[in-house]
């Protein structure tokens, strides 16, 4: 059956398309995103407290390469087949090379609901994969060294809200461990799914606003928005197999790869590649890829992971 949090997304989507007056306070949406980022970080850090950290460094190198590779492929396809201009192609590619926290959270929820384990370092992968695609996207748009303020960008990237909360949460979780986190479990773990449901309700409303843009450009957006995550998921699975991840880990890495950023990257690209049209990138990411991933992608990536590991359940 369809997960409850996804029902909330569909509800928001339908309400938005029907032009309902439903609106969540902006402060609630903001608060929920702070909450989700912290909770994901805490959960990951708590896991790390008991995990071996030896293999972590090469793994991080691998997922960074994965993100860069996705960005380059997306850029190639967007230039050659979708025929976007350089700036738009570079900006949109950066969205796809990066990751979406909401998609990741739905993936985590999907696995938890089915009691499928996954590696605690997935949360670090999430934090680490957010950034490199931004750098690559800027280089693709501008070439190296031309009037980009890299200092500023590095600041944006490493000290942006999302990465700060993920890393901060992870470090706290890692220091405190399961026992230390117990007193705040009631808030950060027990309410995680409810908060995710509310967050996805607003996401549905936001996605519904993409309908106009979608209708304008139609087919090509839908085609790329569906194929790119599938391609990325395969790359993610390949990378995950090389890293010897569990089924849950494979599913989540495929999900991460398939996901496209709609918070950190749009903000960074808006400043670094202003001539790119943000509405265009978001119509790919929010109009097609995000709904596809949470509605159909995640179960499919799990199924693929089972096939690839010879575990067809």
């Amino acid at each position: 059956m369809i997960d409850i949090v996804v029902l909330f997304f569909l509800f928001g989507l339908v309400a938005g398309l029907a032009r309902s007056e439903l609106k969540l306070p902006a402060a609630l949406y903001d608060s929920l995103s702070v909450f989700l980022l912290l909770a994901i970080g805490l959960k990951g850090g708590q896991g790390l407290a008991t995990a071996e950290l030896g293999p972590l460094l090469p793994q991080l190198g691998a997922v960074i390469l994965l993100g860069i590779l996705q960005t380059l492929i997306a850029f190639g396809l967007l230039r050659s087949i979708v025929k976007l201009g350089r700036a738009d192609a570079a900006s949109t590619a950066a969205h796809y090379g990066s990751v979406s926290v909401a998609t990741f959270a739905v993936g985590v929820n999907w696995l938890m609901t089915r009691s499928i384990e996954f590696e605690p370092q997935m949360a670090i992968f999430l934090a680490v994969m957010e950034i490199p695609a931004i750098m690559v996207g800027i280089v693709l748009a501008r070439g190296i060294g031309r009037d980009t303020d890299w200092g500023l960008l590095a600041h944006e990237a490493f000290l942006g809200k999302g990465v700060t909360l993920l890393l901060g949460g992870m470090i706290i979780g890692w220091i405190a461990g399961p026992e230390g986190l117990a007193p705040i479990k009631g808030l950060f773990f027990d309410l995680f799914k409810g908060a995710l449901a509310l967050f996805l309700l607003e996401m549905g409303l936001i996605v519904s606003h993409q309908a106009g843009e979608l209708r304008k450009r139609g087919f090509v957006i839908i085609a790329f928005g569906l194929l790119m995550p599938l391609l990325s998921a395969l790359l993610g699975l390949a990378c995950g197999l090389a890293l010897d991840l569990s089924i849950g880990g494979l599913t989540l890495l495929a999900t991460l790869a398939a996901s496209a950023s709609y918070i950190a990257v749009p903000a960074a690209m808006r400043l670094a590649v202003p001539e790119a049209n943000p509405a265009l990138s978001l119509s790919f990411v929010l109009g097609v890829t995000f709904p596809f991933n949470i509605l159909a992608g995640i179960p499919f990536y799990h199924w693929l992971a089972l096939q690839l590991t010879g575990n067809p359940s």
Partner: protein, 102 residues
């Protein structure tokens, strides 16, 4: 008997919230000594910006300063941002009573 006031220029810029830090740094560099920012939403040639989330939010920046500085700031903003950002800017005359402050 009427209050003795002096004329200054109010520059008001309405633009994308994502630009806030960048623009405020620019203002600093251009020699502006103060500004006021408030949140807004709106519609213009770049579509509806309803502040439902950060991407779609506007801000409204007000700067009171000498005419010359207001003009050079506006010129800088025009050259640097008008082409690529949802943005509207205008100038107004205002009267103030602490001339040394602006």
């Amino acid at each position: 008997m009427s209050l003795s006031t002096e004329k200054r220029t109010l520059l008001c810029v309405i633009t994308e919230a994502v630009l806030e830090q960048t623009l405020l740094r620019d203002l600093d560099r251009l020699g502006v000594r103060g500004y006021t920012v408030s949140d807004a939403r709106g519609r213009g040639s770049r579509g509806i910006r309803d502040a439902a989330w950060d991407e779609a939010a506007n801000i409204r920046i007000e700067v009171i300063c000498a005419r010359a500085l207001a003009e050079s700031t506006l010129e800088h903003i025009q050259a640097r941002y008008y082409a690529n950002y949802a943005m509207v800017a205008f100038l107004q005359e205002v009267e103030i009573i602490r001339p040394q402050k602006f």
